[in-house]
């Protein structure tokens, strides 16, 4: 661990200014990922600006039906919130599927979005990794890649994004509100995380110094009928092999509205627009669900150890949609 200095931000503007001014400064939220990386030598900030005391810890209902979640809201609090549990069930379930109780008590909404990949090579400074050390090569492409991406990867990086929360937010058309030196900007969650392409060191479209201040959820009636299913190697406290966030509204036997995102299969939460397009207006049947899954996974490219994720993603999506279909056996 490299020595660093620590400051507690008094207001958002000065926090942004402090970090913007120093290319080796970083914001500190719950620290559940960043502090690990500092210990492992993956991250070497020389200045940490603690933003957990900033006034971003509220969940507010806006007049137009939207919900504004402060970036500092802890994962546990967000999962337990009455409105989230009622109107955005998939989000509450996704949060509770992530990490452990202790970690959720510390981890923040903004920090959860900024989690870095758990690729073992990324976290081990003795092995090459383009994300940690651009140009050094990707160890996972030819290495142990059971946990890695089947969609949207590049020759430079096959890592997956680890968040559960972000998968639900992607399905819910959420927006990230960011404060930078030039003021606020709003980024849809689906555009917030990047695919690796030839710059896997950049997980998101954030510029250095930009601070997430909130996440906004649209009023989305279909979200009340939603679910998050996470397939993992044990019953709790493991990253997803594949996860599905889905919301479904069926009327007269046909799909009226649908939202789907996958976790565990790509460098970003994977909004399944092709599957959604194939489903809208289609009969709410097993056949349609299978076709939607095939449409989304048509471009999937397995690596040596993760080919199972293709049938797993297909089956999980079908299972989730079946579960959300009215009259289905639970």
């Amino acid at each position: 661990m490299t020595p660093f200095s620590y400051e507690r931000a008094s207001d958002a503007g000065s926090a942004v200014a402090r970090v913007t001014a120093n290319p080796r400064a970083a914001f500190l939220g719950g620290g559940t990922n960043l502090v690990d990386h500092m210990r492992l030598g993956v991250a070497h900030p020389e200045l940490l600006v603690d933003v957990t005391r900033l006034p971003f810890s509220r969940i507010e209902s806006l007049s137009d039906g939207r919900i504004r979640i402060g970036a500092g809201v802890r994962n546990s609090d967000l999962a337990a919130d009455r409105i989230i549990r009622g109107r955005y069930r998939v989000l509450s379930q996704a949060l509770l599927a992530g990490a452990s109780g202790q970690l959720r008590n510390l981890a923040t909404t903004g920090g959860n979005l900024l989690q870095r990949t758990r690729c073992a090579y990324f976290q081990d400074v003795t092995t090459p990794c383009n994300k940690r050390n651009p140009g050094s090569g990707c160890s996972a492409v030819e290495g142990h890649n059971r946990d890695h991406a089947i969609l949207g990867a590049s020759e430079h990086c096959v890592a997956v994004h680890p968040s559960d929360m972000a998968v639900a937010l992607a399905a819910l058309d959420a927006t990230v509100v960011v404060l930078g030196p030039q003021g606020e900007r709003r980024i849809p969650v689906v555009d917030f995380h990047r695919l690796p392409e030839d710059a896997p060191e950049r997980d998101t479209v954030l510029e250095h110094g930009e601070l997430i201040v909130a996440v906004e959820l649209p009023a989305l009636p279909v979200a009340a009928h939603s679910v998050y299913y996470k397939v993992r190697d044990r019953a709790s406290y493991a990253f997803a092999l594949v996860s599905v966030a889905a919301a479904l509204e069926v009327s007269n036997g046909r799909v009226r509205d649908v939202r789907i995102a996958f976790g565990g299969i790509a460098h970003k939460p994977w909004r399944a627009l092709r599957a959604e397009a194939s489903l809208r207006g289609a009969p709410a049947t097993e056949e349609s669900y299978g076709r939607a899954a095939e449409a989304e996974l048509a471009d999937a490219k397995p690596l040596k150890h993760n080919g199972f994720k293709i049938p797993l993603a297909r089956n999980t999506l079908r299972m989730v949609l079946r579960h959300l279909t009215p009259g289905a056996q639970r």
Partner: protein
């Protein structure tokens, strides 16, 4: 005949005597002893798997504020004995495995030690390494013997010919992965050199063997070394012998006299420096008559050892005693690789060996159309099949029948893939368990008479969290014919009389017998009311009948799993173990041990796997995010019971040892249940969703 102890305290479900201290956080683990002038040690590890160190640049590390010293193979004190190559630490430029210690930083804070360690620059001359574990390697070899002194190979009758001629055959290959013990408390040594005395605060299963080994390695007299380890946060075999970190801490202490140099391995470091269970590739062949009588058993094991020091797991040993067959053959072959040395992990040998053997028996039951409990009963041997010795107390059949009754086994439809709840397929499986009864020679107990009928009982035993503090007090109370409250026990210190290792499920049997012998000696010397200040000592006696008897514990495990037909997720819904392990000293603690072993078996069945990276030579998933161990949510309705039994051929307490048998057979019972649920036979552990995906 053993002179049996009359029991009153033995058999009582006392709470752990150390429970309150642990809950309050005041029981000192190795790192936590309050010591003046602490210093902190952080190692530098090799980033190549084989080769030589060309140059080490420590200048940047030494300039870090708070750094006291950096030690390397060029500057560390010279060791006296290289008999154990694992402990030949910082003595040469050779690198035998990735992660090996190549330097270490002593500093005033843990942070500065770690930071400085990152700044040590090591240049290597790498050599080609080979960590590829395969059964088709041309260089597999037969060790002289396998661990615990068992023969490498055995042959009885003509197993090949009998197998070829058999009416029903099973010929399957089973693989178990490398697994890491992963106790909650990391391997920790705090070393203090106050010439001529070296004190080690350690986390170990045997203070005395750490003392003997460290003294010999350093060239000190045994009396110069003291090892203290009153509480241990789990070991599972990985703390059964000293490892390189013990020596590294001692070398650092020699470099910084008067400072208490603290070393706790990080979780990542434990994946290359604290031992592991070898992976195995096991071909198992069973030949039988149509009605399920075994005519041939052939068990061929391939496993690995480090190239620099041999470790030969006794994987096929349980196959030599489980079932009757006129023809039998067992083999062990080793691949010597550029990896850290494998080491002891709970029920070494039995655990992987019984996975293969007990799944093979399930396959045979299916092939014969027989109930798997009945198949095992039909092949019950009258005496130990290979030695011909009489059984001490073999109650496998009773365990199977009792388990079947409690688990409602008779209602089971033997056909696979018959039950489902929604998309969850449900199935049940059974497997046998066994573990040898060991009593080790060399423990000694001293008893002193105090005021008001109180006694002090001294023995350097270890409590790994298992309950030694409590169980030994119960044994002492009965041996001294006094209440448990009148016994003051002292353990975990080499200043106390010698104790053998807490390993091989031998601890309570060996130490307890020494205490019983010392109490009897006290009475012989001082009568039934010994005066204050009286004292007596005795050693564990050599059991008279041991050469004539085959003494083993047995058990039967029943598991019910649910398998998600869509996702391949496997969840254990119910599990029962029935054990025959002699008299149970303390039911509360014993239940915890049995259930703990079964949970570890569940973890082996479904979760645990250390993935070796062939290009780099290390374990890729070297943390708890990557190396999965069963968590609370995985452990459902899990129960353990035991036969009401007093083994008067084993120890004066009637006990046989319980630390390991719970894990043996557990993975097989679960794998057999997965087959019953899904119709798919997974022979490669762990059974993760990808292996059940279609």
């Amino acid at each position: 005949m053993i002179d049996m102890l009359e029991t009153r305290a033995i058999g009582a479900s006392l709470e752990r005597m150390d429970g309150k201290l642990k809950v309050m956080g005041t029981a000192p683990y190795a790192f936590e002893h309050r010591l003046e002038r602490p210093a902190y040690l952080h190692p530098v590890q090799a980033t190549i798997a084989r080769g030589r160190i060309r140059k080490i640049d420590t200048a940047a590390a030494e300039s870090v504020e708070g750094v006291i010293a950096v030690i390397t193979h060029e500057t560390a004190a010279r060791l006296a004995s290289d008999e154990n190559k694992e402990l030949w630490v910082l003595q040469s430029d050779e690198v035998h495995f990735r992660g090996q210690f190549v330097a270490a930083v002593i500093a005033e804070t843990p942070e500065s030690a770690r930071h400085a360690a990152d700044l040590v620059r090591v240049e290597y001359q790498p050599a080609p390494h080979d960590v590829s574990f395969r059964a088709d390697r041309k260089d597999l070899y037969a060790p002289k013997a396998v661990n615990a002194g068992y023969p490498t190979d055995t042959d009885h009758g003509d197993a090949e010919t009998a197998f070829e001629a058999a009416e029903v055959k099973v010929d399957s290959t089973y693989t178990t992965p490398m697994e890491h013990n992963s106790p909650m408390e990391p391997h920790t040594t705090v070393a203090l050199w106050e010439p001529p005395k070296l004190t080690l605060f350690d986390s170990t299963q045997s203070v005395h063997s750490v003392r003997a080994t460290v003294a010999k390695t350093l060239g000190l007299e045994v009396e110069q070394v003291r090892v203290v380890s009153p509480y241990v946060g789990g070991g599972f075999g990985s703390k059964g012998e000293p490892h390189a970190h013990n020596i590294l801490a001692a070398l650092a202490a020699l470099r910084a006299p008067g400072l208490a140099v603290k070393l706790a391995l990080t979780r990542q470091q434990m994946f290359c420096l604290a031992g592991y269970r070898t992976p195995t590739i096991q071909r198992f062949r069973l030949g039988a008559t149509r009605d399920g009588r075994l005519t041939s058993i052939i068990h061929d094991v391939v496993e690995l050892t480090s190239r620099f020091r041999e470790f030969a797991e006794q994987t096929a040993v349980p196959t030599r005693l489980m079932y009757a067959s006129p023809n039998r053959r067992t083999r062990h072959r080793l691949a010597a690789l550029d990896l850290p040395k494998p080491s002891w992990m709970r029920a070494p040998g039995e655990t992987p060996g019984m996975f293969a053997g007990e799944v093979a028996m399930d396959e045979l039951a299916v092939a014969c159309g027989l109930d798997p409990v009945e198949l095992r009963v039909r092949n019950e041997p009258e005496c130990d099949p290979e030695s011909g010795k009489r059984w001490g107390n073999r109650h496998l059949v009773e365990c199977l029948r009792e388990g079947a009754r409690r688990f409602d086994w008779s209602r089971r439809d033997p056909k696979p893939r018959q039950r489902a709840e929604g998309h969850w397929l449900v199935g049940t499986g059974v497997a046998s368990s066994t573990y040898p009864r060991y009593v080790l020679m060399g423990s000694r107990a001293t008893i002193r008479v105090g005021e008001d009928g109180r006694y002090t009982v001294l023995i350097g035993a270890a409590d790994l969290g298992t309950g030694t503090w409590t169980a030994l007090a119960q044994i002492a109370a009965d041996a001294l014919e006094c209440p448990v409250e009148a016994v003051g026990l002292e353990i975990g210190d080499t200043d106390l009389p010698n104790a053998t290792v807490a390993g091989g499920s031998s601890g309570i049997s060996s130490w307890g017998w020494a205490i019983v012998a010392a109490a009897r000696e006290l009475r012989r010397l001082h009568g039934s009311r010994p005066p204050m200040g009286a004292e007596a000592s005795a050693q564990t006696p050599k059991p008279a009948d041991d050469d004539k008897l085959a003494q083993h514990s047995f058990g039967a495990q029943f598991a019910e799993v649910r398998v998600n037909a869509e996702t391949g997720e496997v969840r254990l819904s119910r599990m029962l173990g029935v054990f025959s392990a002699g008299r149970i000293i303390n039911p509360r603690l014993a239940r915890s041990q049995f259930i703990g072993g079964m949970t570890m078996g569940l973890s082996m069945a479904l979760h645990e796997e250390s993935v070796v990276e062939e290009r780099f030579g290390h374990v890729v998933n070297h943390d708890f995010a990557g190396y999965h161990i069963a968590c609370n949510a995985d452990v459902a309705n899990l129960d353990a019971v035991w036969l009401d039994e007093v083994d008067d051929r084993s120890t004066p307490m009637g006990s046989r040892g319980i630390g390991e048998i719970g894990i043996v057979g557990a993975a097989a019972a679960i794998a057999n249940a997965v087959y019953h649920a899904t119709g798919r036979r997974v022979r490669d552990l762990p059974i993760t969703p990808d292996k059940l995906m279609t």
